[in-house]
């Protein structure tokens, strides 16, 4: 964004001390500080407009455009960085100024230069008004500064109910943090295992136990996914069988069920047992 290389130290550049732009005593360094003090092109325009010392409704947009362009030229002359938005405004003001000075019929669907100038003036007036309104707000008696809420919460002993407190800010901040954390340090995502676990098998067994009092086939407790389509080769099926069997053994160990198998590799049956070993 800055201009081409300028010869010599900028401090010796006579353009920098253009009285139009800054204090004649100011060094380029002060100049940088000045520019950084502005919050965008409108802010700069507003400051320049005040130098005209007239009511904003009476302001000369042509004169203002010239002031702005001089300022920008001086900044660039000093080989200083200027944010793109300042340059965009400069280009537009140059265009507006030329149209205001050399009236010519523009395309019919384009606003007239006077209209554009009026809108710019409106925007400057509005920004100034909002600035003053903000200052007015700050001058009001403010809670916690000029005016105080009750300092001490009431110590009443009673049936207390815990109420958790959180603000919308807390909520959004928590989400933002969580999101940022996830993005910065991606957590290893392990897909949920399709294999059956002993825990799940135990849950199935405990849920089903007691529904029928007598012996029933352990195969009833296989995971729903493999029930009915018995495929001994599938890893899923084998894990289901193994975990169901292990879970059944676990329940035997805890004395909750009894197991029975009448022949090698034959079907396995189980039945719930009371704590004292008696069938319930």
């Amino acid at each position: 964004m800055s201009g081409a290389a300028e010869p010599g130290p900028a401090a010796e550049d006579p353009e920098v001390s253009d009285p139009e732009v800054s204090d004649p005593e100011a060094s380029p360094r002060d100049f940088v500080v000045d520019l950084e003090g502005f919050e965008g092109p409108l802010d700069l325009l507003l400051t320049l407009a005040r130098e005209q010392k007239v009511d904003l409704t009476q302001i000369s947009i042509v004169r203002l455009a010239e002031q702005y362009l001089d300022f920008v030229a001086a900044v660039r002359h000093a080989d200083l960085e200027l944010a793109a938005e300042y340059l965009v405004m400069a280009a537009w003001l140059a265009y507006l100024k030329s149209r205001l000075l050399l009236p010519q019929a523009g395309p019919a669907d384009e606003p007239s230069p006077e209209d554009l100038a009026a809108r710019l003036a409106f925007q400057l007036r509005r920004l100034e008004a909002m600035r003053e309104a903000g200052a007015d707000l700050l001058r009001r008696p403010r809670l916690g500064i000029d005016v105080f809420a009750r300092g001490r919460p009431e110590p009443i002993e009673a049936n207390t109910e815990t109420v958790f407190h959180a603000s919308l800010y807390d909520l959004l901040r928590a989400y933002g943090r969580w999101h940022a954390r996830n993005r910065e340090a991606p957590v290893l995502q392990v897909a949920p295992s399709v294999l059956d676990s002993v825990e799940k098998a135990l849950e199935r067994l405990r849920r089903g136990l007691g529904r029928s009092p007598g012996w029933e086939s352990l195969s009833r407790y296989l995971p729903p996914a493999i029930l009915g389509r018995f495929d001994g080769d599938s890893l899923v099926a084998r894990s289901g069988i193994a975990s169901t069997f292990a879970a059944a053994l676990e329940l035997v160990r805890e004395g909750e069920v009894a197991l029975r198998q009448t022949s090698p590799f034959g079907p396995i049956f189980l039945r719930p047992v009371h704590r004292d070993g008696v069938p319930r």
């Binding site: 919050e39 965008g40 092109p41 409108l42 802010d43 325009l45 793109a84 938005e85 340059l87 965009v88 405004m89 280009a91 537009w92 265009y95 507006l96 606003p111 554009l116 009026a118 809108r119 710019l120 409106f122 925007q123 007036r125 509005r126 920004l127 008004a129 909002m130 600035r131 003053e132 309104a133 903000g134 200052a135 007015d136 707000l137 700050l138 009001r140 008696p141 403010r142 809670l143 916690g144 500064i145 000029d146 005016v147 105080f148 809420a149 009750r150 919460p153 009431e154 009443i156 603000s167 919308l168 800010y169 959004l172």
Partner: protein, 203 residues
């Protein structure tokens, strides 16, 4: 005020006084006996306390006791150092307060510059603004509005009490039309220069 039950009056005082947070009329009503005229009671308490050192203050829909504003010069000295709000934050707050509901892009238009990170954040952290819904427009951006906590902090009974509201309205400065639109079309001002900042788009 013959319909004011003195017992109810005392209860309203105690209820609002004991609360750790400002209370809505509905919350106060829920703690009073059936049929109590809460609005009238609050008005009675407010006028009873008006000449005192502690006042009953309304902010939007909520009520709380606070020290009288005119005592500020005598009370101010024992306050912790005030957190300074940036100029951008105050300007943004004023723009939202006077023009709400307002999208972020509209705030940027009004200031002619993009909002830096942290400006809305600072206002949110103070609980002075909240998202008030979405604009039925392309992108459905969030609209920002001020909160009752904002009103309370600045001692405003309602948004109608904003300083110089009538004057600004009369001057047409609260109209949203006729401004240069730099940001509200989504592109942060980077476009063909001869179009002007965001092409000086008309309505």
């Amino acid at each position: 005020m013959s319909d004011i039950d003195p017992h109810h009056l005392r209860l309203v005082e105690a209820i609002v006084f004991a609360a750790t947070e400002p209370m809505t009329v509905g919350e106060i009503a829920a703690r009073l006996p059936e049929g109590a005229n809460v609005e009238a009671l609050l008005a009675a308490v407010q006028s009873a306390y008006a000449p005192r050192g502690v006042n009953l203050v309304q902010a939007g829909g909520t009520w709380a006791f606070a020290t009288a504003a005119d005592l500020a010069p005598w009370l101010r000295r024992d306050v912790q150092v005030e957190k300074k709000l940036s100029r951008a934050a105050i300007e943004t707050l004023a723009i939202i307060a006077y023009h709400q509901p307002l999208t972020r892009a509209e705030v940027e238009d009004a200031r002619g510059v993009q909002l830096s990170r942290g400006t809305l954040d600072a206002l949110l952290a103070q609980d002075w603004i909240r998202p008030g819904g979405r604009r039925e427009a392309p992108g459905r951006p969030v609209e920002w509005v001020t909160t009752d906590a904002f009103l309370r902090h600045f001692g405003l009974e309602s948004l109608d009490a904003l300083p110089r509201l009538e004057e600004l309205k009369a001057a047409g400065l609260l109209d949203n039309r006729d401004a240069l639109q730099t940001y509200s079309e989504g592109d942060p001002g980077l476009h063909e220069a001869h179009d002007g900042p965001r092409g000086v788009v008309g309505d």
